[in-house]
Structure formats: structure tokens, C-alpha cells
Symmetry: C2
Subunit: 695 residues, 2 copies
């Protein structure tokens, strides 16, 4: 035993419970891991990168991480960026490897991922997306930004009074014809650039989103490279920058605010792949302007991946705890029951496990789509071939729609997942060392940034309704909306028990409910003078249902490729639970559109418990399949060895020296407890004797 | 203007917007405030206490609060306790005033409320509830614990491996007949007392929940006073205490763990109002044992109040921001639209406003019930009058049921409220200075402690089903369950538009759905061999619906007492929105039990928007009615003056000196950016020349 135990006492046995269940795992973990990662090769690639991260002396994340101050996080994150710059030089020119590395790091150290992501993802994406080839070459390679050399960029889009409505940003870039310069200005407090990651302490340059003003004409918001600091890291004149200070999470990022007071930059610093301004003040605006807003798309795609990885981490912690923790005795048993044996506990956690598997599929799919489309687009822009360009723009719109739905749905889902997993660990979930607290605080900003979830969901819902409208008009439905061709305006889709066990039927139910809600919306729009605001709730539901359908559809396809029978069975059960979960959540819509009846809905509730019971048997194997080492778990509650209580006490003792038994303020505290009476302290000035004298 | 503004720029105008809407408030705020606080006198009492708190030099909470480290919070909280001990001496013997004071403090400094609450609420409640009168007199008054003198107590109930299942705690208290002492022991790591607030650095004494072992017989869990530290604040031998360390929130509380290694206490330190052990080892266990578990009840009642106050604070911040913030232009308008004008934004926030009003009613009611019942109980125990005692126990059971439902429902609701309010403020909600981050982190532990919400909700749901069962048997339904007499097994309750506008009908719908879900559960139990686990979901819904019905029922009653017509109209609208919100949330149950039809459900969705529109008109007045000064708001986004952006920038600048433009690690960071090439750093050891030499 690890510590002395008195006889006749019932020592908890989480370790034994977890290992016993682990031994019962019958399906091959490696095959499951390959499914999750997308392929054997990808699985191996991921494991290799994980080894490099967890063994690296600078990149390592320890339990101390949960105790650090803002300043400590900031410095450590900067050290890690320096370390990563070496990996980047090694990975080059394969930036995909570096991106994969960053995605894994984001799981345990999200602030590091973001602080570097702002430079590589946002700043560089903006230069690449909005600049000419020559401009990109100069800033990225000649200067070295691509390798985190010479230049560290930030991304000055949002202002204190403008976030989602980019077109209404107030910062101005006014062309001064006499000097061939732009004057960048923050006209008032409301236009102060705000939330700018890297601005406070890191960035040497920024891409500024500002209104192009030429000869008093406002051409709308364009992008400009503006140097912020010189090679001594001193701020240029006219630049005022401050630290945004304390945030909910991600303390390692030096978010800042920037005010420009008539800062002059050469005209050539305007990024001009699309809009071009010459030295005479002639402005050329090409029709492809819409391509210039793509800088945030990559971030949205990454957040789907991040939701999957973050979700896999926290659901593993909660499920290992649920297997090891006992609570309350069931009639006839001597030992208390494992938490995971309670149907309610299964109902709270296992749908999230199913969602994590689903998000892995979404992540693999949208990552691959994104790469393909960007490549085609580059080819199109370079060749000027309007056919390729047209197709690319169409695909890009599709990706915008998919990512709007998936980013919002997956980041919300993961926020709920972390919170529910924390609550499911009872009080211990509230310990910082469980990982949930910082995990939640770090994660939830993803529901807001790079496209507020509510706005993205409204966009996604609107797109679905529009696609349905055009399908009704011309019978055409393409890409991920081609399912519309298989839908019907009425009729029960899920009729009985048998239908509920058929994953294709379940998917068809999702497809039909999307179609029918859209029909109802079109009808409402007709009756309400096209007021889209009044169907906001339906758009929200449509966005979430679209994400569910997207995932289930791809899941079914991928299931057909799985060879191993046992792996397939597990994935079947998870897919069915995934479908049940989404149908139950939007039950009202399913009932109201007649996709299933009251009766079948009750059956579905019962079937859910049956499916939960099946999945419960293999929760240890199904979470071990994510292959997260204790380093990536970084939680006292979720280590692989299952020795929850000893692990927990050990970390708490290591980090809080229990040989110090008095508080630094013990003396003052004792003085309070040992204080004399009120009347002694006020020298009896309210005593009867005194009051008599004073009367 | 506050700062220089360039011409032709559109400066945001939140201040103007908020003051314009404030000027349009037509109902009398004082009357509304009296309704919220329960009476005119109570409203005045609250305002007086608020003034004392916000002006006190030690108790004041400033924006710096959001930046403090754990150590700083701990020390400051101890200072504030010393300060509060003076108020306590002044308030004595009226402890209710001090409790009211503490409830207000909890709104802005929850950790202070709790750290003192553990001593006064938990430790003292346990001594009072489980000790004899003489024992209570000694510890509370002779020693002075009641005035925070001499003794500072903590509450050693939970263990690392046991929280909710108190009866299974593992710490032992074994009577040593030879010395007339109890030996308190922690048999193994699993029995380590864990999460003990005040243990790490404050407590001199604790009440330990331990198994009473006499002559090898285990009598179950009883309570014992155990001294932890002497008058020098040194730990007694056999006592090991450590700091639990970093938590999600409430850093000001010194939670600790305690291990007892054969610690001896006099037999008389056992709290023996109920169970008594004499020096010969005779154990007397009276039938009223069930009264000894009441220590947590007061905490649950307080959490309903806390949910109301916390909710009022955050919903005020979000609604002021929603009025002042503009986003996106509506067709035909030049200025962007106010956030609050969007139906979706109204749908996100206004139901929470209605809930806050509802929670104020619940808070007033349950506080008053709690006081009355405890007084009766004391009277019963002292007089030994079994009639009074029997009635008290019956009432106590009712209060247990009410508090289980209300504590879990209101704390969950408030957690969701804070999170949604934060998201509704976009990125700025993520700033620590908005207050949401710490507010959420501090609040959510209430969903777990002093009765885990899921377990409480299961209890509440079970009680409802049992009450329905007994009503079916004998036609009797008492107290807050007397509504059962007005319910019917079938038939549509909400038939049309008119019904949806009748708050009595809406309440009847809630009552009927509770009755009918219970009937369904009873049926399921019959068919499933009385397996209560399988109806866990229904019990959860019943608990939440019971809370809604509890509130709406009292709301309707209180509405009849409101004199002012305008105030009444506002409260009517809020009550209707409250009902709609709960009916929509549990829509599936309403449809499945036939309480309303598919058709009426669609009408209800439409009516919701109409009601939202009415409430939207007076959101500034309806939140001003809480009468929270900027001190109690403590958020850069929600100040009374509405000058959001200047307030925000000012606080950020004050707390983050922007004259320091370089990071402490700027040198290392620049060294990274200015580093030489890889091949220079590795002295060309991979160059073709070298490789040739080495080949």
C-alpha cells in the first residue's frame, strides 16, 4: 500500500476499478485511434508530435501551470514561442506539421497556441490573403515573419465599440497625396483597437483594418501593414499601446489596445491583392473583394479541431473519475456503487463522449476541405482562370457555411462539456488541479472571438433556409446540402423501434427536420414581411441541427470503411447515441414537424438508456483510445493509473507546503480572536456612569 | 467631451442612449424596489446596509479585486473578517441584521461571505443544532464564537472520497472507556477531511463528522468538537492540516484538508442534543435523530437569496450594455441598432430578468419560512411538546423539499445567467473587469456544495412523486403541494390565445404538468420494478418545474397586493414571461402530457416575442429598480452613468500602467526575433561541405 491504513476500514479502490475495466476492453485500441485521427499514418504522426511536446523541457506543462500569475504566464509563453521558433525552422517548409503541433499544444496550453496563432494565423493570413504575392514574399520571407524572425505581427481588427460588424470599423487610413502616405488615425475612443493579441508586449508590426479615405471618399474597410515598434522594441511616435490587463483566461496572451494618432505609413504598405490605390489617388476595386475577408476562416476551422481535442481531454478525466469514484450503496451491495453505473450519470456524460467522437470526424473533414479549397483558390488567383475562381468562390461559400455552423456548435458544445464534466466530479471538479477551471476559462472565449457564435449560427441558419428556397425553386441542392433531395414535406420518418435502431433512418430524421423547419421559416417570412429577426430561434436550431447532420452523415460514410467488427460496433453505438442526443435536444421541432410521433419519442427515451448501457461497458477503452498521456491530461482526477486520491493528495501537498502551518497574517488574525470587549475598547464611554455624567 | 474627437467621425453614444431610456421610465422605482425586497421597511433596511458596506474603508471592493493573487485575497478576506467582527458586536443580539449584511456582501465578495459563513453558518449551526443548550452556551457565548472571539470554527464533514453520502463517512470517533475520551482517527487517505473552509489558516476548532464507535459497535456518523490549534495558533499533536491550494474561484477562502492520527478529545466534546454516550459506554439514540442533519439547510436557503442578488447584478450589467451598445444597421437607419432591439437579444436576456424577479420572491418566502420553522422547532425541543415537535418535523420536511428544489434550480439558473450575460457582452464579457469571470467562477461552486444539485433535484423530484402518490391514495395534499387538488389527469389546460394571457391559467398549466409527469413516473415505476434510477430525467424536470410553480404561485399572490397600476403591469408582464420561459423549456413534457397542444405551443412562441417587446421598453427602469450602486455593480460595462467606453478604458489604464511599454522579458524576446540563421547557429554542421567530409 502507498500509505499506512488501519484495519477494518474501507479504503477506496479507484485504481482496481479502472484496471479491471481496462482489462475488459476487447476492441483494438490502435484501430480505434486511427479512426479518431483519420488514418493510421495520421495517428502515428500525432503520437510522434505528442512525444516531442511532452518531453520538451521548455514546452512541458505541469500542475504548477494552474497556479501561475499573469506575469508568469506571459513570460513563460514568450519562452515557449522562442522554443517553438526552433521547431518551426525544423518543420519548414511543411507548415502543416507545425500547425498540427500547434493544435496539440492548444489542448494543454491554449494561450500559447493563440499567442503564436495571432502572428501566424491572423497576421500572416491577412498578409497572404490580402497582399500581393510580392507583398507576402517581402513580409513573410524576406523579413522572416514566417519563421517568427525579425517581425512579430498582430491583428488590429476589432475596436472597443465594434467587433462583429467589421464593415463599420471607425479607424481611418487617409491618403495624403502630397507625401504618398497613408495617415492612420483613431478618431475617438470608440475606435480604439481593442483585444489585440500580442499588441501589449510582443508585436513589431500589425495589420490594421481601417477605412480607406481617398480624396474625401470613404471606400470602406481595407487592410494596412503598420509598424508599431522599432528594432529596439520602442514604440513609434503616434502609437499608444496599453495592456488590456486581466482576462477570464488565457493569461499568457498579451492582449492590448492601440490608438493611432495620425501615424504615417508609405502608401505601399496597404495590402493590395484586391483593392489598389495609386499615387494619384486612383482606386481600383475588383469584383473579388469578397475573398479578402477570409482571414478568420482558418481560425474557425482550427476551432473545430480544438473542440474535439479539448473535449477528448475533459471527457476522459470525467469518465475515469466516474469509474473510480463510488457513491451510495445499492440495495444488497456492501460496497458503494460506481458513479458511472447510475443511468443519470451515464446520461450526463456519455452523450458528450459521442459528441467528441463526432467532432473528430468533423475536424478531419473540414480540415481537409479547407486545405483543398485554399489550394484551388491560390491556383485560381494566380492563373486568373475565372472558371477555377468561380468554383473556388462557390466552395469557399460552402466552407463558410459549414464552418459557421460547426465552429459555433462545437465550441458551445465543448463549453457545456467542460462544465458538465466538472460538475460530474463533484467538489473535486472545483479544484484548479482538476484542470476544469482553467480549461473552461480558456476555452469559452472561442464562443465569442473570430465570429461570435450567435451571429455565426444566425448566418448558418439563414444559409440553410436560402438553400431550401433555391431547392424549392429549381430542384438543385449541391455539396453538403445535397441531402435536401432526399427529404419530404410531410410524413413520419421514425415510425417504430426498428427505425430507431437504424442509423440511416436517424440521419434521415435529422435531414427532414432541417428541411421542414426551413419550410416553416419560409412561411413565417412570407407572413411577416421578410423579418428574419423573428425567426432567430429557428435559425439557431437549424445551425445546430446542420452541424449534427454534417457529422452523422460523414460518420455513416466512415463506418462503412471500418474493418474490425468490434470497433465498428462501438462506433455504431456511439453514432446512435449521437443521433438520439440531438433528436432529444430538439424534440419539440421533431414533434412539431411530424418527423416522429409522441409515441416514438417516448420509445427513443427508453432506447437511449439501452444504448447508454452498452457504451458504459467500454468507457475506459473508449477514452483510452484518444491516447492521451498523463501529460496531456494534466489533471489530478484523470491520470491513467487511476489512483485518484493518492495522486490528488500528492500534487496538493507538493504545491502547498504543509510544513508551513500558519498564515502570513496569523498574528493579526489571533489579535482579532483575542481582542478585549467592546466596552474596554471604547473605554466605557457608553456606560451608565458616563452617560449620567453627560446628562 | 471627455477626450479629443476628430470631426466627421461617429463617436458611440451609450450614455445618451441609457439616459434617454431612463427618462422614459414611468413607474415609481421605489415601489418596485419595495416589491423586490418584500416590503418598504425591508427596502430601506437593505439600502442602509448597502451604504455602510460601500463606504467602509476595509470592506470596499474595487476593480483591483479582479487582479489579486490567492495570497492577497486570503489576507484581505481575513482583514475584512476582523472588520466585520466589529459590526457583529454592534448588531448583537440581532443576528438577522448581521446575516442580511453578509448576504449583501456575498453579492460582491462571495469569498468573504463564505469564509465567515463557514464559522457562523456551518460550525455554529452544527453546535446549535446538534449540541445541548449548555454545550451551545459554552462554545458560542462563554468562549465567544458567536462574536468571532476566541474560537474560529470550521466544519469537517466531507472527505476526499465521500461528499454527498454523509452516512458513509470513514473518519472514526472511538470511545476509550479507560480515559473517558474519544479517539478521532482518519483510517486511510480516502477519509482525509477535504475542502474544509477555514482549516488551512484560520480555524482553532472544528466540528468533525465521524463514526461513533463504542465497544466495537458502529453507531453511524455523529458530530464532535475537536480543537485544532492552541491559543498560539499552533497545531495540536496528531493534527495534520494542509492547504487545498488553487481553486476555480473564491480564492479568499483558506480551504484545507485535515488528517487526524489518534487525536484524543474529552467524551464531553461530543455534541449530544440527540445521541448521548455516558462514561460507561451506554449509548442513547432518540427518535429525533433526523433533526441533526439540519446544518446544511440554512446554507441552502441562503443560496436562493444569493442567486437572486447575484442574478440582479449580472443581468443589470448585461442589459445596460445591451442598451448602450450598437451593432449592425437596420435598413433605412444611419446609426447602428441597439443590441437590445434585436428579438434574439431580448430572448437571450429578458427571461433571466424575469427569473431574477421570480427569485426575489422565492428568496423572501423561503427566508421567512425558514425563520418561522426554526423558531417553532426550538420551542418544541425546549418544551418537549410532541405536538409542536411533530408539526415542526413535518414543516422541516417541507422546507427540505422546497429548498432542495429551489437551491438547485436557482443556483443552476444563475450560473447559466452569468454565462449568457457574459456572452451577450461579446468580447468585453471576457475582460476580468467586466466582473463576469470571477462572478461565474465564484458562483458555480454553489451548484455542488451543501448538497450537489443533481442529488438535491433527484430528492425533490422523488418527493413530488411521493406526494402525488399519497394524494392519489387519500386525497390529501398539504402546504406547497396543495395545488395537487386543482389538477386533472387529462384535458388541455391552455387552449387558446386568451389562456396564454392569463397568468392563473399558466400557473395551472405548470401544476398540471407536474401532476401528470408524476403520474407517468408512477406508471413507469410500476412497470420497471420500482427502479427510480430509470426516471432520473423526469425527476430532474419535476424539481425544476416545482421551483417554477412555487415562484409563480407566490408571484400571483403578491401581485394582488400591489397598489400602483404601472408597477403591477410591469410585474404582470414579467410573470407571464417567466411562465412562458418555463413552459417552453419543458415544452416536450407539456406536449406529451397534453397540457397544451402543438398549436397553442406555436402561439406561445409568438406571444413570447410580444411580451419581450413590452418588457424591452423598460429594461433600464426594471434594472435600476434593484438599486445597485456602481460599487455593487463593480463592472466596467455596467456603471449607472452608461459611459461604457470611457469607463472601461479608464479602469484598464489605471490598472495597467501604459507608460511601461516594454515587457520585463523584452530583451529575450528581441533576441529571439533577431536570432541568426539555423546554419550559423549549428556552425554549418549539416552543410554539403561538412557532410562530404563525414562521408
Amino acid at each position: 500500500m502507498k500509505q499506512t491504513v488501519l484495519p477494518n476500514s474501507m479504503e477506496p479502490d479507484p485504481q482496481q476499478l479502472i484496471w479491471k475495466e481496462r482489462a475488459l476492453t476487447t476492441f483494438p485500441l490502435n484501430e480505434m485511434h486511427s479512426f479518431i485521427e483519420g488514418s493510421n499514418d495520421q495517428a502515428l504522426h500525432t503520437l510522434r508530435l505528442m512525444q516531442q511536446i511532452e518531453r520538451d523541457p521548455v514546452l512541458a506543462v505541469k500542475p504548477e501551470y494552474y497556479e501561475m500569475s499573469r506575469d508568469e504566464h506571459r513570460k513563460l509563453t514568450a519562452d515557449k514561442i522562442a522554443r517553438l521558433s526552433q521547431y518551426m525552422e525544423q518543420d519548414a517548409p511543411d507548415f502543416q506539421v507545425f500547425q498540427d503541433r500547434l493544435n496539440l499544444i492548444a489542448m494543454i496550453d491554449p494561450q500559447l497556441g493563440t499567442r503564436l496563432g495571432v502572428h501566424l494565423g491572423l497576421f500572416m493570413s491577412a498578409v497572404r490573403g490580402n497582399g500581393t504575392d510580392e507583398q507576402y514574399k517581402y513580409w513573410a520571407f524576406e523579413r522572416g515573419a514566417m519563421y517568427i524572425k525579425d517581425i512579430y505581427g498582430c491583428f488590429s481588427m476589432t475596436e472597443i465599440a465594434h467587433g462583429s460588424n467589421v464593415a463599420a470599423l471607425q479607424t481611418t487610413a487617409t491618403l495624403d497625396l502630397s507625401t504618398d502616405e497613408f495617415i492612420i488615425n483613431t478618431p475617438h475612443v470608440g475606435a480604439t483597437k481593442w483585444w489585440i493579441g500580442g499588441a501589449a508586449h510582443s508585436a513589431t508590426h500589425t495589420v490594421v483594418y481601417a477605412r480607406l479615405i481617398v480624396k474625401n471618399k470613404d471606400y470602406g474597410v481595407k487592410t494596412f501593414v503598420v509598424p508599431l515598434r522599432d528594432s529596439n522594441h520602442d514604440l513609434y511616435p503616434g502609437i499608444a499601446i496599453g495592456d488590456i490587463g486581466e482576462k477570464m483566461g488565457r493569461d499568457g496572451i498579451d492582449n492590448g489596445w492601440i490608438q493611432f494618432s495620425s501615424v504615417r505609413i508609405p502608401r505601399q504598405y496597404m495590402l493590395s491583392k484586391f483593392t489598389k490605390v495609386d499615387s494619384n489617388g486612383n482606386v481600383a476595386e475588383p469584383p473579388l473583394e469578397q475573398l479578402s475577408y477570409g482571414a478568420l476562416l482558418g481560425g474557425r476551422v482550427t476551432m473545430v479541431t480544438d473542440s474535439f481535442r479539448t473535449g477528448s481531454r475533459f471527457v476522459t478525466i470525467a469518465l475515469r473519475y466516474a469509474v473510480g469514484r463510488r457513491q451510495f450503496t445499492v440495495k444488497g451491495e456492501k460496497m458503494e456503487n460506481q458513479l458511472i453505473n447510475y443511468p443519470l450519470h451515464q446520461k450526463r456524460l456519455l452523450p458528450y463522449l459521442a459528441w467528441v467522437y463526432g467532432m473528430s470526424i468533423a475536424s478531419n473533414q473540414i480540415q481537409s476541405d479547407h486545405k483543398k479549397i485554399l489550394n484551388n483558390l491560390d491556383q485560381g488567383v494566380r492563373s486568373g482562370d475565372m472558371r477555377i475562381l468561380g468554383k473556388s468562390i462557390f466552395d469557399l461559400k460552402g466552407l463558410f457555411a459549414d464552418s459557421a455552423s460547426l465552429k459555433s456548435t462545437c465550441t458551445w458544445l465543448t463549453a457545456d462539456l467542460i462544465d458538465e464534466c466538472r460538475q460530474s466530479c463533484g467538489g473535486h471538479g472545483y479544484s484548479a488541479y482538476s484542470g476544469f477551471a482553467k480549461g473552461f476559462a480558456d476555452h469559452v472565449v472561442q464562443c465569442t472571438w473570430e465570429g461570435d457564435n450567435n451571429i455565426l449560427a444566425q448566418n448558418s441558419g439563414r444559409i440553410t433556409i436560402q438553400r431550401v428556397m433555391s431547392y424549392l425553386k429549381n430542384g438543385k441542392a449541391n455539396g453538403n446540402y445535397s441531402f435536401l433531395k432526399k427529404t419530404e414535406k410531410e410524413g413520419v420518418i421514425l415510425k417504430n423501434d426498428q427505425d430507431l435502431k437504424d442509423v440511416n433512418k436517424l440521419n434521415s430524421a435529422l435531414q427532414n427536420v432541417i428541411f421542414r423547419i426551413s419550410l416553416k421559416c419560409l412561411n413565417d417570412l412570407e407572413n411577416n414581411g421578410k423579418n428574419w429577426d423573428i425567426i432567430a430561434n429557428e435559425k439557431l436550431a437549424l445551425s445546430k441541427l446542420y452541424a449534427a447532420e454534417y457529422i452523422l452523415d460523414k460518420w455513416i460514410f466512415k463506418l462503412s470503411e471500418v474493418q474490425n467488427k468490434q470497433v465498428k460496433e462501438e462506433l455504431d453505438n456511439l453514432a446512435i447515441l449521437f443521433a438520439y442526443t440531438n433528436i432529444e435536444k430538439f424534440g419539440i421541432h421533431f414533434l412539431q414537424t411530424g418527423v416522429l410521433s409522441n409515441n416514438t419519442f417516448s420509445q427513443l427515451e427508453k432506447e437511449t438508456y439501452v444504448t447508454l448501457g452498452k457504451i458504459r461497458e467500454h468507457v475506459v477503452g473508449l477514452t483510452d483510445s484518444f491516447k492521451l498521456s498523463d501529460f496531456f491530461i494534466n489533471s489530478v482526477l484523470g491520470n491513467f493509473n487511476g489512483d485518484i486520491y493518492h495522486n490528488y493528495l500528492e500534487i496538493v501537498q507538493n504545491l502547498n507546503d504543509s510544513s508551513v502551518t500558519k498564515a502570513p497574517y496569523a498574528k493579526e488574525f489571533m489579535a482579532m480572536l483575542n481582542r478585549v470587549t467592546v466596552s474596554e475598547r471604547e473605554k466605557d464611554q457608553k456606560s451608565a456612569g458616563v452617560l449620567k455624567k453627560l446628562s
